[in-house]
Amino acid sequence: MQETLYPLFAEKMQTERLANGLLVNMIARPNFHKTYAILTVDFGSIDDTFTTEQGEKITVPAGIAHFLEHKLFEKKDHDAFDLFGKYGADANAFTSYTRTSYLFATTSHLDECMNVLLDFVQTPYFTEQTVAKEKGIIEQEIKMYDDDPSWQLYQKTMANLYPGSQLSLDIAGSASSIAQITAQDLYTCYRYFYQPSNMNLFVIGNFVPDELLAVIKQNQAQKTFPEKVVPQRFFTPLAQPVVPQTVVPLAVKVPKVMLGIRGTEALPMNREGLKKKVALELLLHLLFAETSPTYQELYDQGIVDDSFDYELQVERGFYFILVDGNTRQPEAFVAAIKEILQTAPTTVAKLTEELALAKKEFLGQTIKSINSLEAIANRYEGPLFGYATIFDLVPLVQEVTLADVLAATKIIDFDNLTINQVVPQ
């Protein structure tokens, strides 16, 4: 196995790409009690249009990646959750726009749990009956989120940032789109995306890497996989212009406002891209954190309150920023945020001391997150950031300069801005 050392933290990551293409990363932590493993497939809700082996371009119903994730646990005569349950392990899964992950955490029977994980993900079983049953459960899940005004606001913002693209749809799809899903659709998606070369396994905790790797190799050696195929994926999030604004009446007491800006200049898929991500995060911090020049004033005037939040999301093929909060003065809120964004390049140029302070904060937060097995494993994005881990962020944060943060202000482009509100009925 290849080794990557992190001497400041006395940690070591061991990596190997198996013969079948599966990428395995392992970090041993003998002073922890549990082991956490996450198997990630490079397939998410945006991957609904792709070419088959025959060169045919097909589109599958929205929500299929999430549907597949639910269904994979259920086999002909057992449910994978029950198998993990036999060992007392904790299992879960989640689907995002760009990936599907299956995970477990356990303090015992690691080898058995690892075999369960690999087996249930690599042995698909879908029938029309099991598909029909799942539709009821997922419909309820979608309905539950429909009752959440914050969720509605977010969905509206995504729909306005990326109209006409897969990003405008709920990851879980809709009741009508999932109604169209067939077992055959699931097998098709499975064939093209659930290949070992399209997956990575990250394991961290109290275990012995060589021993576990042997268990994994033995498991994989007993299986035959279909011939590797790399489907062409079609995803054009920027095809249509941003919808500048919407106002939706819902059951809220206080208006909620969300501004979104989509990035248009592609981020390189390597450490440079990760550094640009950090620069963007520092930019948002300088503009909108509690320590920013304008925050206190807005807070005191009641324009923002404790719910005020901002974030940057970077995934395969797209990135965007969101600024949002509850406010009794939505017009003032919008005007203030727009002003901050518009004047950002001039403001930021003067914030040398504030940047130094922000870097201290980011450094400390990164070091703190190293406490969490889940954080280290879940935030590993494989090729997206050049196979970096949280440990690599520590020196990166220290390297970012004011010039880098100034360059990040390029994302602020009002042609790619949307302003959305949820207001009382």
């Binding site: 007491k253 206080v254 450094l363």
Partner: protein, 419 residues
């Protein structure tokens, strides 16, 4: 290391090299006299988190925390039975990762000293503008709860079940009582907290207990009476089951159930209840999850929880309105099955493994160490992980049936959607 610094003030230091951070908790606990107390203490938690003499604004506090390399700081409130804790929690990364000559633990203690003992107060009252602002923030937070149907249904269940006014209301209080809180009331609540509440200080991380003792000695604390009342609240069961239905404009109906479940804190009841609850609705292998969600697809979620400090067990479900009666029947049937011993020990063994796995896993979360030490101190006893696991393993079928038979349904609360 645990040491009573003064009567009513205890310091616990748990040295560990497992984490990159040091966490410090300073917790003030009192007995709840009435509902107003909850509201006032919540407001106090907001005030003391965001202002002090040295750092009078949120920005100033945030800048100080940034300077301490992104130190974390917050106040939390917790109702535990008849008691209420207002805790200050601060966390800093270990100096060795910074390659500078900082002493962040000392800075953190000095920071806490300022935030707790030097509030933004002048002549017996808090800064008026800050008071008004935080009152408004707390009011806004209380309103936001009503936007979360699941929370609304849970609070609705509790407010209709509990007779005692201080138990009826959420731990953060109510808008009605908040309106009437004056600045002077708030300052009085503050004085009571620092002079009369029981104090627990817990420090976890790669630290030297002797050094921590020296730092904690600089905090202006003095002796006070230890908590002597019973923590546990009990409300005897009624003979009949109340039904409350509230109609809402919702997609999904929330159907909740409240049971009286008397538990003797000092006996094996506690461990039997843990296993019972997991089997009933606290685990993916539970009766509620398997039979209400999985097998019949009647609910997106169906789970149970219990509170040993208030002698209650409750079930929450998210369902289609049309299935209300069917779900009531199913939930009752699951409890009846447990009461009749209609469950396999094979499932129980799996559930025990799950519980044990969870317990051991939580040792990998630094906050758990602090919380366990605090609760252990409040209840006067703490179990090591080894002992806890053994006592779970020892639970028998009879133990589970005994607990199940004590559960008596008191209230069915429905937040009915589709209107």
């Amino acid at each position: 290391m645990e040491k009573e610094i003064y009567p009513g003030v205890t310091l616990t230091v748990i040295p560990t090299k497992q984490f990159t951070t040091t966490q410090i908790i300073v917790s003030f606990t009192g007995v709840i006299p009435d509902a107003n107390y909850l509201t006032t203490r919540s407001l106090l938690a907001y005030m003391l988190e965001t202002s002090s003499q040295k750092w009078p604004t949120q920005k100033a506090v945030a800048q100080k925390l940034s300077q301490m390399y992104g130190a974390s700081f917050g106040t939390t409130i917790n109702r535990r039975g008849r008691t209420h804790s207002l805790s200050f929690v601060a966390g800093v990364v270990h100096d060795k990762y910074l390659q500078t000559d900082t002493d962040l633990v000392q800075e953190a203690v000095m920071f806490l000293k300022e935030m707790i003992f030097h509030p933004l107060v002048k002549e017996g009252a808090f800064d008026e503008d800050t008071f008004k602002l935080q009152k408004s923030n707390l009011a806004t937070y209380m309103e936001s709860v009503d936007e979360d149907p699941r929370l609304m249904a849970l609070y609705g269940l509790r407010s209709h079940y509990f007779d005692d006014p201080s138990q009826k209301v959420p731990q953060f209080g109510t808008p009605a009582t908040l309106k009437d809180v004056t600045n002077q009331d708030l300052y009085q609540a503050y004085r009571t907290m620092v002079t009369k509440d029981q104090v627990n200080i817990i420090v976890t991380g790669d630290v030297d207990p002797a050094i921590i003792m020296g730092l904690v000695a600089t905090l202006p604390l003095g002796p006070r009476t230890k908590l002597d009342s019973t923590i546990q609240y009990d409300q005897p069961a009624q003979g009949s089951v109340r039904k409350v239905t509230v109609k809402q404009q919702l997609q999904q109906t929330k159907l909740n159930f409240m049971y009286h479940l008397p538990l003797d804190l000092n006996s094996n009841d506690f461990f039997a209840a843990i296993v019972f609850n997991a089997l009933f609705g606290g685990d993916p292998q539970s009766k509620l999850f398997m039979n209400v969600r999985e097998k019949s697809s009647m609910a997106y979620y169906a789970s149970s929880n219990f509170d040993v400090l208030r002698n209650v067990l409750w079930v929450q479900t998210g369902i289609e309105t049309a299935n209300k009666e069917k779900v009531k029947y199913l939930v009752a049937a699951q409890l009846a099955a447990l009461q009749q011993g209609d469950f396999t020990m094979a499932t129980v063994e799996n559930i025990k493994k799950s519980l044990i796995n969870e317990r051991i896993s939580r040792e990998d979360t630094q906050a758990t160490l602090g919380t366990r030490a605090l609760i252990g101190n409040l209840l006067g006893r703490q179990y090591s992980t080894a002992e806890w696991c053994q006592r779970i393993k020892n639970i028998t079928k009879d133990d589970i049936v005994t607990i199940a038979q004590r559960a008596s349904l008191q209230l069915v609360y429905c937040l009915e959607g589709g209107h």
